[in-house]
């Protein structure tokens, strides 16, 4: 019985898929299906982003001896929808003498690159839109496009605070991209594949990669979390929007929906970083120690989401505990400490694999 219930969404999907192919020529049908999947993902992640905002606010409240949003709907669950409606209906104000074209383009760079990134996620065995053999590479490549949007937005705003924020963003993202890439590379040595679904499958037999690669994997995870937090411009690396220094940084002059794009992208980026961490280190949608392997109806996507939420909680914990770094300290941390450590770590991992010391 349960088996049937859990398979209803999948059944619906395949029914719709078959129906579209039966009424249309093949090319049109495949395009339609792709568009439908894209729309579904868009809706899913708009909602996911919004509820991450709510989660952030609730977590912040717990850290700060407050209650957090609790007026709109039960436990404040509709607060974030109310916020979204407010942002959508707000007037789009802008500064004098802006570069109109670039100013309007910037938010789309950020949000589109983010949304492309999520297409390759392996939520579970069946739930992956786009399983390509260079999935991990694709994710890194796409997620680094977002910084162009921030740079362009800060530049076009005709605001000095925005400009400083944008320049800091360029500095920060370019630096920390290296660490993200290298720590991922360390793990790729272990998996031998870039395809996300295969990376997860590797861990089915050998245990989670963070255990398989013992010490270098743990170091890689720590570096990945630091660099990933910096990549998403979150505290303690939120120099880009450092509110006590720059007002709101690069999005000072954005309002309404355009601001919402930046805002939402930040949260979805956090989701992306957490997902990469889960896939690379914590076995993706596999259950810990195979505890639900025998239960066929158990949705594997649940494990994926639980792990992602734990990592996201960790990132929120950083944000509400640490003060912000200064810009030169940020660069010192990356170029003088993380990068050499990362390179050494990569070598150690290579030696471990060469000597066949993996667990």
């Amino acid at each position: 019985m349960n088996f049937l219930i859990m398979n209803i969404p999948l059944n619906i999907v395949s029914t719709v898929h078959d129906w579209i192919y039966s009424i249309m020529p093949e090319t049109a049908a495949s395009i339609t299906v792709m568009v439908l999947i894209a729309v579904a993902y868009l809706a899913l992640f708009a909602v996911a982003g919004l509820y991450l905002v709510l989660l952030e606010r609730k977590v912040a409240a717990w850290f700060q001896l407050r209650l957090g949003p609790n007026r709109v709907g039960p436990l404040g669950l509709f607060q974030t929808i109310a916020d979204a409606l407010k942002l959508v209906s707000k007037e789009l104000t802008s500064n004098d003498r802006i570069d109109k074209f670039l100013y309007n383009l910037a938010p789309y760079f950020v949000i589109v690159s983010t949304l492309i990134g999520i297409s390759v996620f392996p939520f579970s065995k069946q739930f992956q839109a786009f399983d390509i053999n260079i999935g991990l590479f694709f994710l890194i490549a796409v997620s680094s496009i977002g910084v162009i949007g921030i740079l362009v937005g800060g530049w076009a705003s005709n605001n000095k605070f925005a400009l400083i924020g944008a320049m800091r963003s360029g500095l920060q993202t370019i630096s920390y991209e290296l660490s993200v890439g290298l720590s991922i590379l360390t793990m790729v040595l272990l998996t031998g594949t870039l395809q996300l679904s295969e990376i997860v499958e590797v861990q089915r037999t050998g245990g989670w990669l963070i255990l398989q690669g013992h010490i270098p994997a743990i170091i890689a995870f720590c570096i990945f979390m630091i660099a990933g937090t910096a990549e998403t411009n979150r505290a303690p690396f939120d120099l880009v929007e450092a509110e006590s220094e720059l007002g709101a940084g690069f999005h000072t002059e954005y309002s309404g929906m355009k601001f919402a794009y930046f805002f939402l992208a930040e949260f979805i980026n956090m989701f992306i970083i957490a997902s990469i961490a889960v896939v690379l280190f914590f076995g993706g949608w596999l259950s810990p120690f195979g505890i639900t392997d025998g239960i066929t109806w158990f949705p594997e996507v649940l494990w994926f989401l639980i792990k992602v939420l734990v990592i996201i909680f960790l990132m929120m914990w950083f944000r509400w505990t640490f003060p912000r770094l200064r810009v030169d300290q940020l660069l010192t941390l990356e170029w003088k400490y993380l990068l050499p450590l990362n390179l050494a770590n990569l070598m150690i991992m290579a030696i471990i694999i060469w000597m066949n010391w993996t667990i």
């Binding site: 912040a60 407050r66 000095k160 303690p236 450092a242 006590s244 640490f322 810009v327 300290q329």
Partner: protein, 373 residues
């Protein structure tokens, strides 16, 4: 190419940024005209006057009892201490000796005000450096002091508790118990503050060696309060020119010599402990006596000039009254700590980064109405 040649080839320009009057780090309406080269600050020019209410001019119009109420609105975080300063000046002129009870109560209330003020500063300091959580921890404890004041003075921010000749009315019966409870509670919370912020590596990196103010500069710019004491300038009025009950309590003047932002931070944290110790020494034996010496309904000060200095939460507050013998003063001047402290900002912020300026400003603990009056 050498570094210099490269620098000559790349043409850069300095630019102006208006930091304020609406800026999160200004804590009010302070406007700083920054000249910036990249992230490096070349010049800081404070522009004042956005919250000028001509309090000193209004004092010339009002009677001496009314002046006390105006001083609440200067440094609103140490309103009790401001009130006390004016009352002490008027009492000095009238040669009124207030009872011991008044002296002790004034001291306790002033120290509670200082703790409340330093609490708020601690929260805001964290916030300026990007650690938003500190704000709420500080407000949790400050709230308890506000409750004590609400019960005794009827107000939470602008107390008006002092009056020339004593106090407006006696303390509430719960005052002693609640103050003791608060002290007991707060003693467990300062170590929590330390765990949250003081020991944090990022915090120390952001504050140590940043915004260094030498002792010589502190003296020549007339800097006072915790800022001066962080540079080793012994300027505590409570210690060197005791007023009210400060001569009968035993407390240390906190002095550090580093002169950087972290030293100023530590001075304030240690001052919290000293304030607690002062309150503890006094709270158990508040002497009996009248809380208000009789004064005439219309106070007329004898002709002459009168000056009284007190240690407010931000430094030395001076009250100068010039009287012609009329029912209102001829001229009143307040020497506010914030104004002198602000004057040194350009000197120490030059050459640092924007983030350093924010950290330095946070450690100076500016209250803009105190600067502008």
């Amino acid at each position: 190419m050498t570094d210099q040649e490269i620098k000559n080839k790349i043409k850069t320009e300095e630019y102006f940024v208006n930091m304020g009057p609406q800026h999160p780090a200004a804590h009010g309406v302070l406007r700083l005209l920054l000249t910036i080269d990249g992230e490096i600050i070349k010049n800081v020019e404070p522009d004042l006057g956005y919250i000028h209410r001509s309090i000193e001019k209004m004092c010339e119009r009002d009677s001496y009892q009314q002046i006390v109420h105006l001083t609440d609105r200067m440094d609103y975080l140490s309103s009790n201490i401001n009130n006390e300063a004016v009352c002490l000046a008027v009492e000095k002129a009238l040669e009124i000796e207030v009872s011991d009870r008044v002296k002790v109560i004034r001291t306790i209330v002033s120290e509670l005000t200082r703790i409340a003020s330093h609490c708020l500063w601690w929260g805001v300091m964290g916030m300026d450096l990007g650690a938003l959580t500190t704000y709420f921890y500080a407000f949790r404890d400050r709230e308890l002091i506000n409750d004590i004041f609400e019960e005794t003075c009827g107000a939470r921010l602008t107390m008006n508790y002092n009056a020339p000749g004593g106090l407006m009315y006696d303390i509430h019966p719960n005052f002693v118990k609640r103050t003791k409870d608060f002290i007991k509670h707060f003693k467990t919370k300062i170590p929590e503050y330390d765990r949250l912020l003081t020991g944090n590596v990022i915090f120390q990196k952001r504050t140590k060696g940043v915004g260094i103010l030498t002792k010589e500069d502190a003296i020549s710019y007339g800097v006072s309060g915790p800022v001066a004491r962080g540079s080793g300038f012994a300027s505590d009025v409570r210690k060197h020119h005791p007023y009210s009950a400060y001569d009968r309590v035993d407390f240390k003047e906190v002095l550090l010599t580093e002169g950087d932002t972290f030293a100023r931070y530590q001075v304030r944290i240690m001052e919290l402990w000293e304030s607690i110790s002062i309150i503890e020494q006094l709270i158990d034996n508040i002497p009996e006596g009248s809380v208000k010496e009789p004064t005439k309904a219309v106070i007329k000060l004898p002709k002459g000039e009168y000056y009284q200095r007190v240690e407010a939460a931000r430094g030395e507050l001076g009250v100068y009254i010039n009287s012609t013998g009329a029912k209102n003063p001829y001229r009143v001047k307040f020497r506010s700590p914030g104004f002198s402290n602000l004057s040194v900002l350009n000197h120490i912020a030059k050459g640092s980064k924007i983030a350093d300026l924010v950290a330095t400003m946070a450690s100076f603990d500016f209250v803009i109405p105190d600067i502008d009056r």
